[in-house]
């Protein structure tokens, strides 16, 4: 997906806290093998992120969530999750949380990206979804009004 669409959209891996650290509640064999424990510092988090990119040969730019896990919390992202953010700041794709929501999220993102790449325009949002979002978050309405002016 990254190789296909990296020229038309930006990609960022947001590295968050481990899902199955060796010293966590649900350790995975790979975590034990690699010695991946819960991060105690930002340095730990960076080290593990670098290990991931190297081992999986990923070239996607990566940013690191702070030790307060604030971004993870804001996006309800743990253990993994994918989003597509439009240029107006709205979410075009907001998949469910992993592990079950991740694959459908990738599929939804790929569908959106294919449509965007082919047409050159961001696929329109459902007006009902916008209305619902604005009723939940008044700031979304303000942003929309500002954009219209």
């Amino acid at each position: 997906m990254y190789q296909t669409y990296k020229d038309v959209v930006e990609f960022r891996i947001v590295y968050i806290n481990e899902a199955h650290a060796a010293d966590g509640s649900w350790p995975m064999p790979i975590a034990v093998k690699k010695g991946i424990n819960e991060h105690k510092s930002l340095e730990d988090r960076c080290t593990t992120a670098k290990m991931l990119l190297k081992d999986k040969q990923l070239t996607i730019p990566c940013v690191i969530d702070g030790m307060d896990n604030a971004v993870n919390e804001a996006y309800s992202a743990w253990p993994d999750r994918i989003f597509v953010v439009r240029t107006d700041g709205r979410l075009a794709v907001a998949a469910g949380q992993g592990p079950f929501g991740f694959k459908p999220g990738v599929e939804a993102a790929e569908k959106w990206l294919a449509e965007f790449k082919e047409s050159g325009d961001e696929p329109a949002l459902d007006p009902k979804a916008i209305e619902a979002a604005e009723s939940r978050d008044p700031k979304a309405r303000e942003t929309n009004e500002n954009r219209k002016q």
């Binding site: 481990e18 991946i36 991931l52 919390e73 804001a74 992202a77 240029t87 939940r136």
Partner: protein
């Protein structure tokens, strides 16, 4: 009957030991997610963030990044 009773006692003792060991194990706090109360939905505004890049030298501001191109955010970890 006696071996069965002894086996039951042994299993009970093991269970108690395991439960005590688990209780003594330091618990790490999971991050609080807003997921259970109100998950982000399509058309909502993406929460803003400024995060350090992996190289530690630069920062990524989502608001700036998305100005010219849509952004795909992939949250996750090694495990």
């Amino acid at each position: 009957m006696k071996p069965l009773f002894a086996l039951s006692c042994l299993l009970l003792a093991c269970g108690i030991c395991l439960a005590q060991a688990d209780a003594q194990r330091p618990k790490r706090e999971r991050p609080k997610n807003r997921n259970q109360q109100e998950a982000l939905k399509v058309a909502e505004l993406a929460p803003k963030f400024v995060l350090k890049s992996l190289d530690g030298e630069s920062e990524t501001d989502l608001a700036v990044l998305r100005e010219t191109k849509p952004v795909v955010l992939i949250f996750g970890s090694y495990t």
